[in-house]
Subunit: 531 residues, 2 copies
Amino acid sequence: MAAAHMSVRSAFTGLLVALLCLGSAQGGKLLVIPADGSHWTGMKPLVEELGRRGNQVVVVIPEASLSMGPSEHTTTLTFPVPYTKESLTQGLGEELLRLMTTDVSTTVARLKNHWNTMVTLSNVTMITCESMLYNKALMQTLRDYDFDALLTDPFWPVGIIAGAYLDIPSIYIHGFLPCPLDIIATRCPSPVSYAPVRYTHYSHHMSLWERAVNLLMSWLEPAGCSRMYIYADKVASDILRRKTSIVELASNAALWLMRFDFTFDFPKPLMPNMIMVGGMKAGKPKPLPQEVEEFVNGSGEHGFVIFTLGSMVSQMPEKKAHEFFEAFMQIPQRVLWRYTGPVPENAPKNVKLMKWLPQNDLLGHPKVKAFITHGGSHGIYEGICHGVPMVMLPLFGDQPDNAQRMVSRGVAESLSITDVTSDKLLAALNKVINDKSYKANMEKLSAVHNDRPIEPLDLAVFWTEFVMKHKGADHLRPAAHDLNWIQYHSLDVIALLITTALTILLILFKCCVFCFKKCTGRTKRHKNKKE
Amino acid sequence: MAAAHMSVRSAFTGLLVALLCLGSAQGGKLLVIPADGSHWTGMKPLVEELGRRGNQVVVVIPEASLSMGPSEHTTTLTFPVPYTKESLTQGLGEELLRLMTTDVSTTVARLKNHWNTMVTLSNVTMITCESMLYNKALMQTLRDYDFDALLTDPFWPVGIIAGAYLDIPSIYIHGFLPCPLDIIATRCPSPVSYAPVRYTHYSHHMSLWERAVNLLMSWLEPAGCSRMYIYADKVASDILRRKTSIVELASNAALWLMRFDFTFDFPKPLMPNMIMVGGMKAGKPKPLPQEVEEFVNGSGEHGFVIFTLGSMVSQMPEKKAHEFFEAFMQIPQRVLWRYTGPVPENAPKNVKLMKWLPQNDLLGHPKVKAFITHGGSHGIYEGICHGVPMVMLPLFGDQPDNAQRMVSRGVAESLSITDVTSDKLLAALNKVINDKSYKANMEKLSAVHNDRPIEPLDLAVFWTEFVMKHKGADHLRPAAHDLNWIQYHSLDVIALLITTALTILLILFKCCVFCFKKCTGRTKRHKNKKE
């Protein structure tokens, strides 16, 4: 605890220094609480741009993380956590190995597998969450700073709770959430007949059977969300000293910056406070390092293929790697592969193995022919931006759904990482490279994606600054949030209408019976008299 | 018919001349079919800007209209109609007189009144519609021109049908539609619990009773739409030689440019192909004519009030006008009034009557204190843009709903034109001028409205050019349009699930009965044996 205090005190000093440096800035004061891994990669350009434009940006991250660290034009505050970068990396490696070797051919196996990954991730997430929120000195420092707004990735609930604790307007930026928090918390209609539920891997054109599964899954989703945040709800209630939930807190978000657009996602309804900023990271390619440029330029008319499974995966079981080497040996293209595992002696000459790939710059090279990817949203957007057909090897999270979206647009082939063989890989590669329809479809998609009224980064900067300036975005908040579940679904109104209708019917019926009795009584008396 | 042919032939020549002039232009070829009155005023800046940016813009209008005429940077084609500008103006005057003097204190009276106006408008609309669509020479000319897209206001169904006939992508721009064509044709969810149905005059916060009325009205709306377009549906089916409807044709629109934003309208779900371009017309005020500038500058610290009931109304019954003169006499502000009716001898000195008002320039003047308006969307946006509190006197169409929106935001007072008195007017004016909350609320609303990532005019230009360039906006079209009503509402899925559940239950029940019989049979036999 003493160590924690020291760390925070030194961080606090850092914050003060930053304050002095940025004191003359005209912008707002923004707190940033990111999530780890590719989530941070997706958010970093926005955070740096906000700092560059004169805002005082303070990024709060754990001392140990997979990919988070200082960013430009910002101040970084760290807090101690009871894990190390090494333990995180090792844990992730084991999890990925499990993912690459587990059979997920059935829907149930797939969902179970996914759930296990989510539980593993959730455990780390909650340790980080508690480490920050129960760090009183840090939270007091943040409160004292009197931020104008919070920018956070709701993938980690820590930002959601911190925003409520600090009582400042929150802007959420996200690409993937483990459950439909965005749909539930924004009260955004999502018609199950054409909006596929996450993890179903369906397209927006579904068969009767698929629509039935989609409906059933949509009924289960809120329960999944409740289960997912069961512990986070407890922490939130404890920190805020009132009974609350992550869903309830998230419903107060001023804005949701969604890292999507409709060249990637299927068109569906949006709420006014959902801003689409997909493709924020992709952009003009920079020149390649000389060695890489020479390699790809030497590929001749056949061009080259890029292969990476994302920032977190650079290895795979030897047997599986062999299948890839085997396939690459048989194609005329050169291959650039982000791979740090053991290399077989007879590794093909057309393959260049690298520790890290300048992905966007390679995708923007005129000689690129295909992109073998795990289907993370950053890679997909870079691929769309530069119009490169893909072979997808989804691993977990949103990746299988992402792959399905690209396949349904005729710009990609998807393979299962668990049972991939050199033959399957070869067939898929040949298809996306030699069947001209893939390239043609991708070029059309690329043209549409790149033709936009405003760059997504500028849009995200604008709306973040808007919330800082106007202390929220109340004019975009639907009155749906002021209604309870019964009112929202008009169940009270329907009950009122049915009761009114039944009462009227009852009165009419009673009147008829009364009249009938009167009439028949009179007739009887009449008859009796006659008799 | 011969006259029609001549007119079209000369128009065709005009078109060719335009072609030659614009032959070198880099932009697309855009057909524009506007609607009359304020609809044209709202669309004109976009049409002119599209022409200015190098697109070949051809505007097709009837020979006689209320407000339509040539616009800059465009080519205008006219077609003959069996009415004159004078007959239109006279008809409108009579209709407005009826509106100003009819008591609409009850909901039923209001709806009946509204329906009558709509029927009158619809009759003129359909005459125009037929005059254009059955003008074979004109339609052939338009077909020959091979336009890239059509820009039309769906308030007049003529554009909707012409787009389908010419088989070109359509962009709809609208501020008001007589029935919820936009909601039905785009399949946009509109939750009745917080999205008030048009003509209810409700805000987004409704009581139980209001939500009940809203629900009932929402059930009636599709029927209202069918009834409204009953004749247009016939014309469309005849022109296109297949059974169709306006709603079906409108569902094929590539984009809907909505002249709204959420400082005016209540926040609710949107579809991806709905683009909000509210406030396109309002902008920086230009200097006033010297005479007007002197008048308003002479108003001292009290400032001045602007009074106009829109481009179509510059007169009113003498008795009613008297109430206004009477009220204006009692305020310290000067008044600029667009009025061409008879002036009483003792007309107050602080009132300046004008045939036409530079509305936006006056609203942008620092001395303006209040804006008395009928509540047309253009005036409202100009008022919001410059932060001027309002007194609203809605006449018809969307105006009563518009007034309610402004009142619910605490920036306006609303009065009924049918029973307005000098006392009521005085009270309302004093309230919006002297109660500082109106100005404060309006300034907040204005700050939010004016703070936007891209100007609405630029946004509208961008999306129109996008549709021309990409031959539509298919990536924004939800798959909802490929489902029938039963599929969209998942009724077939629910039927399937119920059938499956019942079948399983039945089988289980039969199994149980079978087992029970077996068991009891065996026990009986067992007993019998024992006995």
